[in-house]
Symmetry: C2
């Protein structure tokens, strides 16, 4: 199979993951709020962005598929000492961010992707990246435990050593250095994972994607009817500011998108609608809010309970 | 005079500018909303942050004075080829951001500062930085012209060549590359200005500070009673997202603060309370809104009218 057929097949595989995820989430939002955009950018690639903007269930939701290629792989995607930096590349994947209105339901993020670089018309190197993480506004320990159990199960089916490494990597990556806080309670994250085979890598991507979707839907079902007060909304708006800080200051995925001249609307669909940077808001927190801070300040082993 | 007495005197000078600016702005906000924080950070320095958070006139206002020193001047403040990088340094200055509630009144920013670095207990190099820029949500050409005239006058009293260079520098600096947009309609900006004498540099700082305050108050007086619609607020919230994007992705001042371990609450007081990242919001703009875009996409010579 030539490289073009191969990368097309891989892109189709991720496109299927995208469709499945979309169809599973769709029942939770009034269908009038879904905006579906097929986009193309010359000398870059194409994608499908499905967005909810000020919906009845989601403040903002972005479900994005893309397949792009370029002449020079940016450092932001692999680090400056990598063999593949500056080489011609192909990348395809799914990235998802959910910002629900109800503060009892966390913000959630998923990304699964395939990368390869080329030399002399052949694939030089190929790898997978991805993961998912959860950003609660109200902490339900049960949800965090289930989230991590789902992550572990998805990893275990490929290799029982993966979860521990990916979980640690997630805690390190989603860290807001200037706040000394993590973005949330983590999950899994892997940046340059060389699978044993292409099929193994695709299967891991699928397992991760499905674990994310099912686990998030489980949380939605449990929390969607919980009531909340004005103060909970205010706290959520404030904490969303941290989310924006992470994405704009530290996130290599965002930087990669901006550096490759990606579609801005699709890259920044991760940013919510209703955000407030209040002054010293965290000096006067309620007990419930303080409880959340315990968990974002110090990562926890959710499965072993330490 | 020893270096400590000298830097103390300079800090006192900027502290006076801070007090004057504060007292001139104070009448526009209900005094109950002003929060005044004297802060100290060990191995860094001290400052005074005066903040309005969800006030009746300001969504957010920050009027900050600080004097800090450190063992190693970060690259973010001068660029990596500068003689003073990594040297022990002292810095003092005033930084101000106003985000009014009424979208007819622009967001405005000012910064004036003094820096020096040390070698063998003596001052090795010293310079001034600063400037101000305006971010309108509704464009009143008259206000932009007056704003730039005030900037020019402040520069001219030191040297008639300065305005042109500082104006150009401002247009280049406050540019949101991924949006291909400027943060607003500019003003002046200078990063490492070596004044003819210390007194000249202090006088420029004072002139810039006063021009900013007087010119901004003139705008407030003209626009504060203008009514606005829900749509104007929505557009303002959306455009504030661009302000956040600039400050978190590009602003060297913000980066400098975060890298020197500054007081986060004072550094990020530049970020407003009511922000929304709407999806493709700028695809359907009103004529009034489109008019604003013309001016943020292409800098204009406001004084000569080209």
């Amino acid at each position: 199979m030539n490289t073009e057929d191969k990368t097309n097949q891989i892109a189709d595989f991720f496109s299927e993951l995208h469709k499945n995820l979309h169809s599973k989430i769709r029942p939770y939002e009034d269908s009038n709020f879904f905006i579906e955009d097929e986009w193309k950018k010359e000398n870059l690639g194409r994608g499908t962005s499905i967005v909810v903007d000020q919906g009845s269930f989601f403040d903002k939701a972005g479900i994005n598929f893309s397949r792009i290629s370029g002449e020079s792989l940016p450092i932001s995607s692999v680090g400056n000492k990598d063999n593949s930096v500056d080489m011609p590349f192909f990348a395809t994947g799914v990235s998802v961010v959910f910002h629900p209105n109800n503060p009892n339901i966390p913000t959630a993020h998923l990304n699964v992707r395939y990368f390869c670089t080329f030399k002399d018309g052949q694939i030089f190197e190929e790898w997978f990246g991805g993961g998912f993480d959860l950003t609660p506004y109200v902490l339900f320990e049960e949800d965090c435990i289930n989230w991590h159990k789902a992550a572990k199960k998805a990893c275990d089916s490929t290799n029982e050593k993966l979860y521990k490494a990916f979980k640690k990597n997630c805690d390190e990556y989603f860290f807001i250095k200037h706040r000394k806080e993590h973005r949330g309670i983590g999950g899994i994250f892997y940046e340059k994972y060389k699978a044993e085979s292409l099929d193994d890598g695709l299967k891991l991507s699928q397992d991760v994607c499905e674990a994310f979707t099912n686990s998030y839907i489980e949380i939605i079902e449990k929390r969607k009817n919980l009531e909340f007060e004005e103060r909970d909304k205010e706290f959520q708006k404030f904490r969303r500011g941290r989310y924006v800080e992470f994405n704009l200051v530290y996130d290599r995925g965002t930087l990669f998108g901006l550096q490759t001249g990606g579609r801005i609307e699709s890259i920044l669909m991760s940013l919510p609608n209703d955000v407030a940077w209040r002054y010293k808001f965290d000096d006067n927190l309620t007990e419930k809010e303080k409880n959340l801070y315990k968990f974002v300040r110090e990562p926890k082993d959710w499965i072993d309970g330490t």
